[in-house]
């Protein structure tokens, strides 16, 4: 068994009187695809923000390790510099810059002065962004901006990819393309996908971690988890098709 890429030990996060994440022990291994699901308020986005440094975690809240390195309390840019690519729930892009300029900024830190252009061209080709590459991102549709943000992640060639609701606001045809893309990313990187869309998770495959009331309810492969009675119950049965 390989060393965990991500490991949390007894991780908790409280906001006032609400315990959003409760003693979570989560492990992700090399090139594993893991979906983190749960109903609204289950704590999955809070856990995501703890992993990415967007929520400041102290040692009193537990520990977070990335490839064995204790990253508890690290800032987002320090975590990203380890080789982590992050896509947030609401598309976080630079609206006043063009698609090319967004990708350039993502690639520049990794690929330096000479390799950046080549890397941007590679990502543009891979995501089929050629037609909109000179347009300002603020002019694009929600779905296009989701894809551009995914491009920002790809341009960094990360070995760990954390995606928060990547399918939100994306149409059916785009969803299939997104799934294909995530599966391709997983060939070179471990991937965590946070989502509450059971259909999307089933199509994506891989192992699934179910969160409920801040804790991990169960883990297993997608079919096993999605057919579990407890999961169906917490997930409001009708949505778990």
């Amino acid at each position: 068994m390989s060393e965990p890429v991500v490991e949390t030990r007894d991780l908790s996060m409280r906001f006032g009187g609400v315990l959003a994440v409760n003693n979570v022990n989560f492990t992700l291994r090399e090139r594993e695809l893991r979906c983190l699901i749960g109903p609204n308020g289950a704590g999955k986005s809070t856990l995501f923000k703890c992993l990415t440094g967007q929520h400041r975690v102290t040692h009193a809240n537990g520990r977070i390790y990335i490839r064995g390195q204790d990253v508890t309390g690290w800032r987002p840019y320090e975590i990203v510099r380890l080789g982590v690519g992050i896509k947030t729930q609401v598309p976080s892009v630079m609206n006043g810059l063009t698609v090319w300029e967004n990708l350039w900024l993502a690639a520049r830190r990794i690929h330096g002065q000479h390799g950046t252009r080549r890397e941007v061209e590679r990502v543009v080709d891979e995501l089929g962004l050629g037609a909109i590459v000179r347009r300002e991102v603020g002019e694009l549709s929600h779905g296009q901006r989701q894809i551009v943000e995914l491009g920002l992640v790809l341009a960094q060639q990360p070995w760990l990819v954390l995606l928060d609701e990547p399918a939100a606001g994306i149409t059916g045809a785009e969803t299939e393309r997104l799934i294909e893309l995530i599966q391709r990313i997983q060939e070179a990187a471990a991937v965590v996908v946070v989502d509450h869309d059971m259909h999307f998770v089933r199509m994506l495959g891989g192992r699934v971690t179910v969160m409920h009331q801040g804790s991990i309810l169960m883990e297993g492969d997608s079919n096993q988890v999605l057919n579990d009675a407890r999961v169906r119950e917490v997930y409001i049965g009708s949505r778990a098709k």
Binding site: T52, Y77, V80, T88, M94, L97, L105, E136, Q156
Partner: protein, 350 residues
């Protein structure tokens, strides 16, 4: 504030050389006293415009660094008896002070509102402190700080290594012009570099830039320090022009004025702040010759009119108008006047 890498880093050499020639030839047909002051104010406005327009950082107390530059020059010149070290320190001291203040603000992750308050209060503290230094005890070496009367009679600029050859009048004008054009070139070079492009990213979405692995507070601290150093240079040149430094250099009026110059001239451009400083500076000097209308009232009215009528500022509006007419004119001449062409995208930051 829009405008991407291309417009931010593009150098319009034709315009730059024409402007430089105009400034060089100006003393042939005009007195240099007022143009020198306008060029100093332009440099001060350029420093704020670079930080605000391209990194999205608005300082309500940019005059703190202008005043620090002026005082550092005066104190050092009085102690050394010449200007070379004084001029260098007048750039370094404001830059280093801004690096410390900026690091505390940006690493402290305070919101824009609190940042505005801190920058303003910092300038006002310096203003109050310098105003309370009238006693004999307030002395740095041979320089008495002088309270509200400030520091007069310090050595003005001299040829480096030759304190007996002073630079004033037209000579000072040329020094100021070289400083202004040099800082413009530095600003343009910064904006064309990877550092400048990252600043544009921070202006657009700081959180995303951090999620791309950039240390945003370090970038913001660096541009804060660089523009404070430019403001310090402007302050030291002002000290040479006025031959006295007083606490009013740190005052609220000075900080507000430069903000109005930048807004009126055009945020997100480098030429806009210069245009704003020259036009409103000339107006201020004209209004200073009469007592009928209060100067501040007129400036306030102009700000309101500009925000309502030209929200992008004067320079970007003129550029957009010119682009629209030149391009549509070219389109008509090519197509026999039957077709209008779409204007180029906004954000030309000449």
């Amino acid at each position: 504030m829009t405008g991407g890498f291309a417009s931010a880093g593009r150098m319009h050499w034709g315009w730059f050389i024409s402007l430089a020639l105009l400034l060089i030839l100006l003393p042939l047909g005009s007195d240099t006293h007022t143009p020198t002051l306008l060029a100093i104010w332009s440099l001060f406005a350029l420093s704020l415009g670079l930080m605000w327009g391209y990194a999205g950082i608005l300082s309500f107390g940019h005059a703190a660094y202008y005043g620090l530059g002026a005082y550092t020059y005066a104190i050092t010149a009085m102690n050394t008896g010449e200007s070379t070290a004084a001029l260098i320190l007048a750039v370094l001291v404001p830059g280093m002070v801004a690096a410390v203040v900026g690091a505390m603000m940006f690493y402290g992750r305070i919101s824009d509102v609190y940042m505005g308050v801190i920058t303003l209060v910092f300038a006002l503290i310096l203003n109050k402190f310098m105003g309370a230094t009238a006693g004999e005890a307030y002395r740095i070496g041979s320089a008495r700080l002088g309270g509200f009367n400030g520091i007069p009679a310090f050595p003005i600029l001299n040829v480096p290594g030759d304190p007996s050859t002073q630079i004033y009048g037209t000579g000072l004008y040329y020094v100021v012009v070289v400083c202004l054009l040099g800082c413009y070139l530095i600003a343009r070079w910064v904006l064309g570099s990877a550092f400048g492009r990252t600043l544009l990213g921070i202006r657009e979405n700081e959180a995303r830039v951090e999620l791309l692995g950039y240390n945003a507070p370090a970038y913001k601290t660096a541009i804060f320090a660089l523009t404070a150093a430019m403001a310090g240079l402007a302050g030291s040149l002002f000290a040479n022009w006025a031959e006295i430094v007083t606490p009013s250099l740190f005052g609220l009026g000075q900080s507000v004025e430069v903000i109005i110059w930048v807004i009126a001239g055009g945020i997100g451009t480098l030429i806009g702040p210069v245009v704003g400083a020259v036009l409103l500076g000339m107006l201020k000097l004209l209004l200073g010759e009469q007592t009928l209308v209060d100067n501040s009232l007129v400036l306030g009215a102009i700000l309101i009119l500009v925000v309502l009528l030209l929200p992008r500022g004067l320079a970007p509006s003129l550029m957009a108008w010119r682009a629209r007419h030149v391009v549509s004119g070219a389109g008509r001449s090519r197509s026999g006047g039957s077709r209008r062409r779409r204007p180029p995208p906004s954000g030309d930051s000449r």
